[in-house]
Amino acid sequence: MTETVVFAVCAVGAVASGAAVFAVDSMARATFALLASFLFTGTAVLLLGLSYLGVLVVLMMVMEMMVMAVFMVMYMMNPAGLMPMSMVHNRNGALAVSAGVFLLLAAGVVLVPWPEAGGAPPADPAFALGEAVMGRHMLVMMLVGMVLFATMVAATVLATSRGRYDRYGDDLRREHPDDPIGGGLGR
């Protein structure tokens, strides 16, 4: 019984804080509203018995939201929301589309005869996940690894305006890179 109560709280909390993300003025509060929504989602996943993935969602999302807060404050015109100005275009159109999508999905959820679960969940789902990722789903593991590596390289290339020629000179033979602020090991 307590499980359904906790689920109800998480559901309402997740959707409410999700909506708050776009309702609140201050960008910092929008970021933490999104973080709250993720924390509720993480709890919901914990409720479903996936303890490892639930805690992983919480861990990953806290770090991601902190990085998002940095960019949020950097790029938004008035990050603290002290001078409220709305940066929205065709609000009603968006509202109509998303309401329509919700009704469509809800109808699907209610009408589709979902199959019954075959057996009971394994004792330790995380162990099953580990086995799968190292066994049958090895391709997923390799793909995720490559995608993350490609993302790191691409994001760095896109974000920085200085290349290695600016740092190490045209013949790339400068002994110490000339960065505005040197790193700890002089590299």
Binding site: M74, M83, S161, R162, I181, G182
Partner: protein
Amino acid sequence: MDVTGWLLRRAVPRAFVVTAVGGTGARLAVEAELRERGWYEAASPAEADMLVACGHPCAELSPVLDRVWDQMPGPRVRAAAAAPERAAGVLDRARAELLDTAAQRRDAEERDGAARGRAREEGGEDMPGGLPMADRGEDRDGLTLDRLHVSLGPALPAWPAGLSLSTVVQGDVVQEARVRLVGAREGGSSSFWEGKPARAASLDAAQNLLAVAGWPAAALEGRRLRDALLRGEDGPRTRERLRRWTLRVRRSRLLRWATAGLGEADGRAPAGLRGDVADRWSRWLDPDGGFPPYRADASRAALDLLPGLVIGQELAAVRLIVASLAPDTGAVGAYAPGGSA
């Protein structure tokens, strides 16, 4: 049973020390007094309950002191230590006034009344608290981001007396810097350190830098040794402790790693200021007292060098560079630093 009074009597006060130009003697006395009583020095007005102004605050410094006084929260007391010998008495009276809960409650009610009054009549303005929005400027990565005007004012812990460095900061990188002396003394430039043992002057500069470099233990030990030397206790025990302290600071790899390569002063600087921050503070630790940092021309050169060294650096590096230059504002007299890049 007056709980507030009971708690206050148990509390160890924290003093926020602000030094006027030429108040070095009073500052040293107050610092020695605070250390012996086991009291603490506050890092910000919010943490403090005792504002101690050392030396003779002139017309320019008073508004700064008033602003710090307004920022201090709860039970607060304001003390002025004009001369070194009156430091102990001033602190005792301040402590007594702090414990007088009736007076503190009255002061609190007055402030709440004034604050409510101000809040009523300035209810309608658009900018909350009258704070303007940050303007934007080019940053070193080609982006145009917010810039803040921050003045590292005279009321700052471990900061040269009366120095005001008004900077334009993006994130925490300083883009523009202008040096100004708040309340520079028109009279002759007589530094406190003339006639005092050169080792004590170097120790004072070193403890200041160690406090800024985040090593409070060595800073306190250095301060204790400085006070011993100033009082003339030059016995074998003090010299032994001084040797061990110097060895520990000199051999600290972390301190060297944190300060190496910062604030490189080129050849034109006077002998005592050449090299980077690490060179400067290791010069102070030499047993022959190294180059006495407190001479008028060295301090003037330090003030001229400051803006150039500080631009492009982060706030942590700025604090270390200022502490390593250690300008003696008392010796400089009425000097308007020209170098405002």
